[in-house]
């Protein structure tokens, strides 16, 4: 049941919407897929939307933090969007701080933020 997360290209950005609960393998596969896609498309920005996700544990948070740093190394900026209140509360209580990560309330605001960051 290893599923791939679709990564869509929109101009010079990539759009990802996480639609189901992530298991370890899917999360790691996504990490690799996203970096390849950035390389392939020369994308300068990425928005990852978590609207449908109702919890993030330390493993997923680590994979997420890592893929953001890796994307940065490749010259792409990442914005995280759609973090639910319950997810924000549990992440902080768990002791996980994604402090240097760009975030926005929803996909629309995330794309706007990215456009501003990229100076278009």
């Amino acid at each position: 049941m290893n599923m791939r997360i679709p990564i869509l290209k929109l101009h010079d950005c990539l759009l990802v919407s996480i639609q189901w609960e992530l298991d370890d393998q899917t999360a790691l596969q996504f990490q690799e897929d996203l970096l390849h896609k950035i390389h392939e498309t020369s994308a300068r920005g990425v928005v990852i939307d978590f609207t449908s996700i109702d919890f993030i544990d330390s493993f997923i948070a680590k994979v997420l933090g890592d893929v953001i740093s890796m994307s940065k190394l490749m010259g792409a900026k990442v914005v995280i969007t759609g973090i639910q209140p319950a997810v924000a509360i549990t992440l902080i209580e768990l002791g996980i701080r994604l402090e240097e990560v760009m975030t926005a309330l929803d996909l629309e605001k995330g794309l706007e933020k990215l456009q501003r960051e990229l100076g278009d």
Binding site: E21, D23, D24, Q25, D54, F55, I56, D57, S58, F59, A61, K62, Q84, P85, A86, V87, I89, T90, E93, L94, G95, I96
Partner: protein, 132 residues
Amino acid sequence: MMDSSVKIINEWDIVAARQLGRNVAKELGFGTVDQARITTAISELARNIYLYAGQGEIMIEKVESGTKKGMTIISRDEGPGIPDLRKVMEDGFSTSGGLGAGLPGVKRLMDEFSIESTPGKGTFIQSVKWLR
């Protein structure tokens, strides 16, 4: 009273344990934030078993105490055990390079938390979340 458990042997069992936990939490009437806390706590405990003990078990029980209702999560393994419990209960302590936010995080997510560990014998963690 329905009790259930999931054996933790591989990564998929972590997913199975947290799904079971989430379902029980929903049934009991926990709100979305507490459901997320419970699901996350189970995920961390199951991952600790997988990473440090190799295998073990997550047990989920509904509990009642007087007028209070809640849910108990038990994590049990026969792994190497934890030599210094005080140290693992310190924030930021990890032996696996940042994987697993560790037990202090689980303790904060739950209402009650107790741990017993015997080096060479295994670890037993019991935690409770009460319905408010």
